[in-house]
């Protein structure tokens, strides 16, 4: 029972939609809860306790609009946009590096006046779309390490991850890298290659961190989660207070709104990267595990959508989006619980900040659109125009088994590198 693109799409996945709304609603409430005491006190809010939540609500509305819009745009149209999107992202990242505005020493913003965007957040989505596009159009690429995976990974690392890392935005860079590896693995790359890459990058990271010796900023950040007291005023500060917040929460928490660590002078990122610690302080293990459960449900539903989609691009895109959100949540909570080295990754849906929330909601919108079209055929979406045209022209069912099922007896390397030439040959 397959449907074509001309058919009416299904209703979006309600589970996904409701989980998203619950996380988003809970997030807005938590942002207010975690920030009002601070907002009432610091100067730049003008003493308005709702300063942060007003902005977060606005971002949520913008994000929801983006989500609904993305939900209505047929996702396969993104395949055509994959390369331009990536190029724009690369240009924006280059722009940030050249003329970005600094926030706490990091160069992450680009924009004019009140309109500021954080290209690294959009980069995640652009890379996922691009990889889904390339790997679905040329599935053989992931079968070959040196001619397929390494060049593709190299392009992503060189043009996207490296600029992001240089901002420096280590958190997003790591999220990107892990998401990319997940997508590669899902597309068929060998698990041991991925593990190999992970090892190489981990070693490279340690090597880079040690460039300035064990006293360097990066190395301290990387190791301090083991013993935050050793660098209380530096990298250990947030971790120390985060652990105090979680630890005091206990099983049931100190009560909603009763957090102490959210007050000024304690946990500084209480409304952004460390909002999960406030959840843990106020609602205890029940609250933190509740959040973990919601993210697990989201992952389960997202990967379910990916699995049932009968279109490689859609499936890889859904995998990439779900993987991206999950990786981000895993890293954030890992950092907050002092299980991972400190990296600045916001918790999807819960952390304050529009530059994270809006792209996440747009990504969910794409995911919902994929869920509406589980059986879409990739005649168009495959995007390899000449090939497509040829397929449409011939319309000979007899050709299809060979075309769809096997990659033939050719040398795979040749097939990957010279596919185009081969495609152009009449068969």
């Amino acid at each position: 029972m397959t449907r074509t693109s001309e058919e009416q799409p299904l209703a979006p996945d309600w589970w996904l939609f409701i989980i998203t709304l619950l996380l988003l609603g809970g997030g807005v409430v938590m942002v207010f809860n975690a920030s009002y005491a601070l907002a009432a006190e610091v100067k730049y809010t003008g003493g308005d306790p709702a300063y942060f939540v007003k902005r977060q609500a606005l971002w949520a509305v913008i994000g929801l609009i983006g989500m609904f819009a993305a939900m209505r745009i047929s996702y396969w149209k993104l395949a055509k946009l994959a390369v331009p999107l990536l190029l724009v992202t690369i240009a924006l990242l280059a722009g940030v590096l050249v003329m970005g505005h600094g926030a706490q020493g990091a160069q992450r913003w680009i924009g004019y006046g009140p309109i500021k965007i954080q290209p690294s957040e959009f980069a995640k989505l652009a890379v996922v779309i691009y990889l889904a596009r390339v790997l679905s159009a040329r599935p053989l690429l992931v079968q070959n390490l040196w001619r397929g995976v390494v060049p593709l990974l190299g392009v992503v690392i060189l043009f996207v991850i490296l600029p992001v890392e240089l901002q420096p935005d280590l958190g997003t860079a790591v999220t990107l890298l892990l998401t990319v590896l997940l997508v590669f693995y899902a597309a068929g790359a060998k698990a041991r290659w991925m593990i190999g890459f992970l090892t190489v990058f981990a070693l490279a990271g340690v090597g880079l961190a040690l460039r300035h010796g064990t006293d360097g900023y990066r190395w301290k950040r990387m190791t301090t989660f083991v013993n935050p007291a050793a660098d209380y005023n530096g990298a250990g500060y947030q971790i120390t207070h985060s652990r105090i917040a979680l630890g005091t929460g206990g099983l049931l928490g100190v009560g909603f709104g009763q957090s102490r660590e959210k007050l000024k002078g304690n946990l500084p990122a209480q409304r952004t990267d460390f909002i999960f610690a406030i959840v843990g302080e106020e609602m205890g293990l029940v609250g933190t595990c509740g959040v973990l459960f919601m993210f697990s449900l989201l992952a389960a539903r997202g990967f379910y959508v990916a699995r049932r989609t009968r279109n490689a691009f859609g499936a890889l895109l859904a995998t990439g989006i779900t993987g991206m959100i999950s990786v981000q949540a895993l890293i954030n909570i890992g950092v907050v619980t002092a299980s991972l080295p400190a990296t600045g990754v916001p918790l999807p849906f819960l952390s304050y900040g529009g530059s994270s929330l809006v792209p996440t909601l747009v990504a969910i919108g794409i995911l919902l659109n994929i869920s509406r079209n589980p059986s879409y055929e990739e005649t168009v979406a495959r995007g390899h125009r000449r090939n497509t045209r040829r397929l449409l022209r011939t319309r000979k069912p007899s050709r299809l088994p060979a075309a769809s099922a096997a990659y033939g007896g050719e040398d795979i390397a040749r097939s990957a590198s010279s596919g185009r030439r081969r495609d152009s040959q009449p068969s």
Binding site: T2, P139, G188, L285, S404, A405
Partner: protein, 641 residues
């Protein structure tokens, strides 16, 4: 011909063949057996499992942090949030008998340094001076600024203290200086040094550091009394600090809604002293002159009101400045008037004579004979300077300070009775006047007295007394034979002046009859009128008194050439309003009580009598008295002196 796809299920065409193709994948695999064909749904499921594994691991980690380590982190959090805070209470002030402020609490500040502040990232965009970009720069700026504004601070020691950490790794806040004056504090606050805090506090300042320094004493840096009345009256002055039991936020303010207990502080009570600041100043001026001119080792003066026992003035030299006490040797801070007993010598004969009169052993008309020396046992006693007084009456004995006749009266009284009278005059026990460190002097039990000691005690040797004890004994004579404990505390009141509570008057104790006291005063007046105390005679007033020139006993033997010259008197002689003791230890040059201490008595008593508007009771040499020649302004306390 090949189509590039691994994912058979996805590369569909509109044909059932697409599904069928899944089964034929191995055709390709057979041609390229080294490449595995992978099913995307399986891979996606693996990815999901991987993510789920991550969440489960985090849940485990959370369970460990939130349940297993819960108690530990709660303890750390409580430690960080400082559950109880003391609110310091205002310390009571000291006032003189007319309400003039002697010691007050001055607004001051303490300087603290919180090194954690160096590491706090400033709010977005609000970058401070470019020189303060890094913690190291902030540290340097703070230390440099402190060194500049607080020249006395040992910066090396400060830098060493900076490393201290708490269990969470938080750096400890250190006290740079506990108390600085407000001007310095304002300068430091204006300098806006990173991590440097200026906290309000108070410091104890005497209005005139040199005035009654031995009485007032001083506090430590926390405002706890260490010496003098500050120490003795600690419980009254201190008050009770308030208590705030709550959780405190990072900015050290109580978190609303967490206040468990709030006990308001109770300010300490103010203390009114019996001291007369004006008179105290005059006494100090007169005493200092004698102390300097005679180049003495020490000098003491006490003014008592015999009717109440009030200590109106009490001064010692050498003295010190309360506000700059560290600039003076520790020995200068001793309140000799109550802490240093000495052998009073002739001044004590008054007790012997009064006792003999009271006991009826002698009458004012009794006659005595002095041969210059007398053998007692194997040793002998002598009158001073080899004098032989010959035949003399009781008044002559006092006026000429005859040792032989005094010893004779001692023998008439007997050991027990003389000891009893010494006790009733207040010797051998503390006066409990309210000043700390008081000595009880040395008065041996009569059973242990030899005959020689009986004779010695009778004329003031072999017994040691404090100047205050001696003054109180003379006040008995002045107060018609009734002993009153000297006192320094007039009363207490609340900080706002309410609830004035006068201190309990001391128990009156009759020592001799009014008649004996009157006879004694008559005899003492002859000392001033025509005896050894002529130099003490005030202009326009009658006065009575007794001189004393006692040798200083050191290590059990008298030291030649070292005397305590003293004069204790009262005026007006008929109905004394003041009892004044002046003693000068080891004066150079003249060492007679009459010539060294007498003029000091005279100067003090004249000022005291005039200040109290006492009418003259005998003709003044300068018409209506010296009072008119004095400028009225000089009666006021001269704080700058």
């Amino acid at each position: 011909m090949s189509v590039e796809t691994t994912h058979s299920r996805y590369s569909s065409n509109r044909s059932a063949a697409a599904t069928a193709s899944a089964g034929t994948r191995r055709v390709g695999a057979a041609q390229a057996p080294d490449v595995a064909t992978v099913r995307l749904p399986q891979r996606i499921f693996s990815v999901f499992l991987l993510v789920l594994l991550g969440y489960v691991a985090l849940a485990g980690r959370l369970a460990y942090l939130q349940v297993v380590q819960h108690a530990q982190y709660r303890a750390v959090a409580e430690d960080l949030r400082e559950r109880t805070r003391l609110i310091p209470a205002r310390r009571g002030v000291l006032l003189d008998r007319s309400g003039a402020l002697l010691v007050r609490n001055e607004q001051a500040a303490s300087i603290v340094l919180d090194p954690n502040q160096w590491y706090v990232t400033t709010v977005k965009g609000a970058k401070t001076a470019p020189l303060l970009d890094t913690p190291e720069m902030r540290r340097e700026a703070a230390l440099k600024g402190l060194a500049e504004h607080l020249p006395g601070v040992d910066m090396a020691a400060l830098a060493r203290k900076l490393g201290g950490k708490t269990a969470t790794g938080k750096l400890r806040t250190i006290d740079v200086r506990r108390v600085v004056d407000q001007a310095t504090a304002d300068r430091i606050a204006a300098a806006n040094l990173p991590g440097v805090g200026v906290l309000p506090t108070t410091r104890r300042v005497a209005m005139n550091g040199g005035l009654a320094a031995h009485l007032i004493g001083y506090t430590d840096i926390d405002g706890k009394g260490l010496e003098g009345l500050e120490r003795e009256l600690e419980t009254t002055l201190r008050g009770k600090p308030g208590l705030l039991e709550a959780e405190f936020d990072g900015g050290r303010r109580p978190i609303p809604g967490t206040i468990r207990r709030e006990v308001p502080e109770q300010p300490g009570r103010d203390v009114l002293l019996t001291l007369d600041a004006t008179l105290q100043h005059d006494v100090q001026t007169a005493l200092r002159k004698a102390y300097v001119e005679s180049r003495a080792d020490a000098a003491t003066a006490i003014v008592l009101d015999p009717k109440t026992g009030d200590i109106l003035a009490l001064a010692n030299y050498p003295t010190f400045d309360v506000n700059k006490r560290n600039e003076f040797p520790a020995s200068f801070r001793a309140n000799r008037a109550v802490t240093s007993p000495y052998e009073p010598g002739s001044t004590l004969k008054v007790v012997t004579v009064a006792a003999a009169l009271e006991e009826g052993k002698v009458t004012p008309s009794s006659m005595f004979f002095c041969g210059g020396s007398q053998k007692i046992g194997r040793r002998s006693i002598r009158c001073a300077h080899g004098a032989k007084h010959g035949s003399e009456n009781l008044t002559d004995v006092i006026r000429d300070s005859c040792n032989i006749a005094s010893a004779g009266m001692g023998r008439l009284l007997g050991k027990e009775t003389l000891w009893e009278y010494e006790r009733r005059f207040g010797f051998g026990e503390r006066t409990e006047c309210g000043l700390p460190g008081e000595s009880r002097g040395l008065l041996a039990k009569p059973e242990r007295w030899s005959d020689m000691q009986l004779a010695n005690v009778a004329f003031g040797q072999g017994i040691s007394v404090t100047p205050l004890q001696l003054a109180a004994a003379y006040a008995v004579v002045a107060n018609d034979g009734v002993y009153l404990r000297p006192r320094i505390v007039w009363g207490t009141r609340n900080a706002d002046g309410s609830d004035l509570r006068p201190s309990q008057p001391s128990e009156a104790r009759r020592v001799v009859s009014p008649e004996v006291a009157r006879q004694m005063r008559q005899m003492l007046q002859t000392v001033v009128d025509s005896g050894t105390g002529k130099a003490a005679a005030p202009d326009g007033y009658t006065a009575g008194g007794k001189t004393g020139t006692a040798q200083v006993a050191e290590n059990g033997s008298y030291r030649s050439g070292k005397y305590v010259a003293s004069f204790i008197g009262m005026a007006p002689a008929r109905d004394p309003r003041f009892v004044i003791l002046v003693s000068v230890t080891a004066p150079k040059g003249s060492y007679y009580g009459g010539t060294v201490a007498g003029p000091v008595f005279r100067e003090i008593v004249e000022k005291a009598l005039i200040a109290r508007r006492t009418p003259h009771d005998r003709p003044s040499s300068s018409g209506s008295g010296k009072a008119k020649t004095r400028k009225p302004g000089k009666l006021k306390p001269d704080w700058d002196a």
